[in-house]
Symmetry: C2
């Protein structure tokens, strides 16, 4: 009888957002007509910007005519887009990334999940805690996690707590991991690391031969000068880091799907025999074998983001969300909460009052203020006692949320 991948049976059911939905349903059924404000949304709400819409229509028209039809494209993406990425996302910041180091895909979730394909199952992994669950779950599937303990931690994964105690700055690992995931600006805490703080990680990886998987999905929200937009702003990072980028939160591409991953040619791991092997070629082989390129339409849409109008329109949208984040941050502080994030990020992260558990606070917020957010414990053990609110609702609802919390309504 054929066998399944046993690692899958180790994964507990993923219940965070379904449990949120269940509790909201129970509450609204007992309290019909309650005006609930949803601040747990992790998805954008503003439409695609006009420059993108125009480019998408034009690309559809190209696909409608034999002489301009595009079938299979390059698995690693079209040059018209990777050239813009190299120029605007990197060269403009003094970083030299070749178009053959850029791999365009259907999104950062796919890439952060699939990257394990090119890595040995023997590698030991470290993650910050709380963390985007995909990093942990995909390593469970890949056989790198060990066993799940009663404390919610996997035995072979090193957890690097990020809490108020260390100002949400993770300490360096102590167990000499081979692969380290960092996501900055961070999901879920909304915190960032400065140039000097990121340099510590790049230096650590260089010294210890560790691979840094750097998720920069929220890069476009950065407004402070000392916060790097790319890990490659740090000297030597090309020797140790893969960077994941996404158009989802940047340009509202969550529904039309696009992201990219940078694998510098300098970046090398070792094989069984200790020989040095460049990851660029491995990822190229993975993508050309298991992926057939991102949609031509979406790639043309993304190209339009690099025009002056596209840049202006995207900034406008992100400014809109950042104003929501500001309102939340200031309002929550005024209401007496300890809060971080929301400056270079669409997420604000608050400490629950009086040592309340994340889920208890969820119920409290729902019942007392009719506000829905996301319990921090859903993002890992060190998220317990914290809570996430997001900036993806409207100005009006965000204002009403703050007014409720500060007792102004």
């Amino acid at each position: 009888m054929f066998r399944i991948n046993d690692n899958f049976t180790k994964l507990p059911a993923s219940y965070l957002f379904s449990e949120v939905a269940r509790r909201v349903k129970v509450y609204t059924e007992s309290n019909p007509g309650t005006d609930i404000i949803r601040m747990g949304i992790g998805d954008v709400t503003r439409p695609l910007c006009p420059a993108v819409v125009e480019a998408l229509h034009a690309a559809v028209d190209e696909e409608a005519k034999g002489e301009s039809f595009h079938g299979y494209g390059p698995e690693q993406g079209y040059g018209f887009l990777s050239e813009k990425i190299a120029e605007f996302d990197y060269r403009s910041r003094g970083i030299d990334i070749g178009t053959d180091e850029i791999f365009i895909s259907d999104g950062a979730k796919s890439d952060t999940g699939n990257i394990g394909d090119i890595l040995s199952t023997a590698n030991r992994v470290a993650v910050t805690d709380p963390v985007y669950p995909v990093y942990v779950d995909t390593n469970v599937m890949g056989g790198r996690a060990g066993e799940l303990g009663e404390d919610g931690r996997w035995s072979k994964i090193e957890y690097l707590p990020c809490t108020a105690e260390n100002s949400f700055v993770p300490a360096l690992p102590v167990n000499n991991p081979d692969v380290i995931y960092l996501c900055y600006p961070n999901n879920p805490t909304g915190t960032t690391l400065t140039r000097a703080q990121l340099k510590v990680w790049v230096d650590y990886c260089r010294e210890h031969g560790a691979l840094l998987l750097f998720d920069a999905a929220y890069e476009a929200y950065i407004r402070e000068d000392d916060v790097p937009h790319s890990i490659y702003e740090i000297e030597g990072a090309k020797e140790v880091a893969i960077e994941f980028r996404s158009y989802s939160k940047t340009a509202g591409f969550t529904g039309i799907r696009l992201g990219y991953t940078v694998v510098p040619k300098e970046l090398k791991g070792v094989d069984e025999a200790g020989r040095s092997v460049a990851l660029n070629g491995l990822w190229r082989r993975r993508q050309t074998t298991k992926f057939n390129g991102a949609s031509y339409l979406t790639q043309r849409g993304a190209e339009a983001l690099y025009t002056p109008e596209g840049q202006r329109q995207v900034k406008e949208s992100i400014d809109y969300y950042l104003e929501n984040a500001r309102m939340l941050r200031v309002g929550l502080a005024e209401a007496g909460y300890e809060v971080v994030g929301g400056v270079n990020s669409p997420y604000v992260w608050l400490k629950t009052p009086d040592g309340m558990s994340s889920w208890k606070f969820f119920d409290h917020l729902l019942e007392r203020y009719h506000i829905v957010g996301t319990p921090g414990s859903g993002f890992g053990p060190s998220g317990e006692g914290y809570f996430r609110l997001t900036a993806f609702n409207t100005h009006e609802n965000t204002r009403r949320c703050v007014d409720r919390l500060t007792g102004k309504s």
Copy 2:
């Protein structure tokens, strides 16, 4: 130092299409102005049909307005599409497939590649030979292939030759494999299996506890009654088979990306402890963790294929390619070649004359007739001595190709 996945280093460079391009370049540089006809194209050339184009424009307009904007969709695809699939692709053929057994994705290449994630690396694999290289290469990456022998075969993979000797009907395996890949209508040979012939495979898998991975990417080209469009037309197949479908060759979606995979709830493997585990839940977990859904635009485009106009327009396009296939098949036979395929398939597969090697015949065709095709040996050891021509060029070029081969021009 972090370690790479050593299996990647076993993969030889994939050189088939680059070597084709190189030889064509060398020839045209020495013989400038030669009028070369490219019949090796594995990609569609006709534009998207009007029903799809209209639906794509409408979907772009939805994404342009806040009130109709769609962000993240369900990872397994939208109900508006899976309901159409269940109705038109299955119920209309008397097959009952639930929408929760359908997983919409960015394409069959991704799915046939990623399916290995949910299967044990201990499974032994069988493939027909010649074969779509993705099945073999992804099993090399996944550690199921063993070592590459000098005969071009991987030590742990069972090859099931399909040649003129067995009328391109693979014999049942003898080494009791756990996972068997079948692609019908076949790429590259263009041959099909009848209902009775496919039943032999389903029965074998049921008896031996093997998993059947059935790639039906060319289903829409079937015109003969006795050739099943779905493996689930065979009784008992839901207990043993996963079916992969694609909109690429059906509706020209190679550039805009869409496919789907059916994992019936009855289909079960075993875990380490011998417990029975349903694959539907495993694939759902894989897709929700490592994939974020296919583009909303493309899903709306596919929905339009199930309208009366969409159905008519798609059939028109496929009829166009099938007429090319017919011309090639008849013309090649007239020119004295042994040829199969081209009836329920866009591919024709011919035996090279006088025992010529596939590459020698490539050169011969290029130099003598200025026609480019694909050497059969590129698809596996049993493809040696064969050659693939495709129906994806225009009527005019296909006619000219045939005229050259039959000496009419």
